[in-house]
């Protein structure tokens, strides 16, 4: 795992300590760049950050268009794992990359706590 800048490390620790989480990142939602990361080897952090931010942007617009308000949490399940994202009020996205059989409820809870820490 890589290290994160001081302060944000604690937010990421909340997520990565959950069993089945392969990595977590704080991503600037506006520009898709990594703010801090704790990722296992082999995960292309910059690519995940850019694409997740783009997706968050488009999902946000879809939510607005549908009149259901801002997106709070999203979960994309794939065959070999999942991507879970929570947005912080500051525009930072807290992103978790997990194994397929992770406890999604627990990861969601920790993502929300991490978002509160990240601001």
């Amino acid at each position: 795992m890589t290290t994160a800048p001081a302060g944000y490390g604690r937010a990421l620790d909340l997520v990565t300590r959950v069993r089945g989480v392969r990595g977590a990142m704080l991503v600037s939602g506006e520009d898709g760049l990594i703010v801090a990361e704790q990722l296992m080897e082999g995960i292309k952090g910059a690519a995940v950050a850019a694409l997740a931010a783009s997706l968050a942007n488009r999902l946000g617009r879809a939510m607005e268009a549908a009149g259901v308000g801002a997106s709070l949490f999203w979960h994309l399940q794939a065959q070999a794992g999942a991507l879970l994202v929570v947005g912080a009020p500051s525009g930072i996205l807290v992103v978790a990359i997990t194994e397929p059989d992770v406890n999604v409820g627990l990861v969601r809870l920790e993502l929300l706590r991490a978002a509160a820490v990240a601001g």
Binding site: V27, S28, D31, G32, A50, L51, A53, S54
Partner: protein, 156 residues
Amino acid sequence: MSTRAVEAWTLEPLVKFVKEAGARLVLLMTSAGQVLAQHGFSRAVDVMAASALGAAIMASTEQIARELAQPPFAALNHQGQRQGIFLAAVPTGRGRLVALVVYDLDASSVGLVQLFFEQLAADLQAASPKDSGPKQVLAADFERELGDSLNTLFGR
């Protein structure tokens, strides 16, 4: 929006990049500002201005790097309220090229542009003619070369 190229090998990588990165305008040029391909521009005068300014910015940042005794900066990103500009060099068999990318912040992001720019650089490197350096343009031929290039870029 149309994508056009003076040198055909640049076209496919550029079309792919524009689609994936959601870029609004793209210029692919030599370090001297000679345009090889463009996407999104509708007027020749805009291409000439943007290529001259892009080449000048690259030259300035390279000089700053030299002053700092550093290798040239990999890329430059300048973000405004609604749009951003991304400028970076691409080594190819045709010599060192410069890409100028303008993107809308509501359709793309610097992260996306950076991500797909890496692929563009690899695609251009793979597609470029291996045995040709930058073509020298003589002063006497400059106006004709420029006219020919602009005609190609705007389909005239």
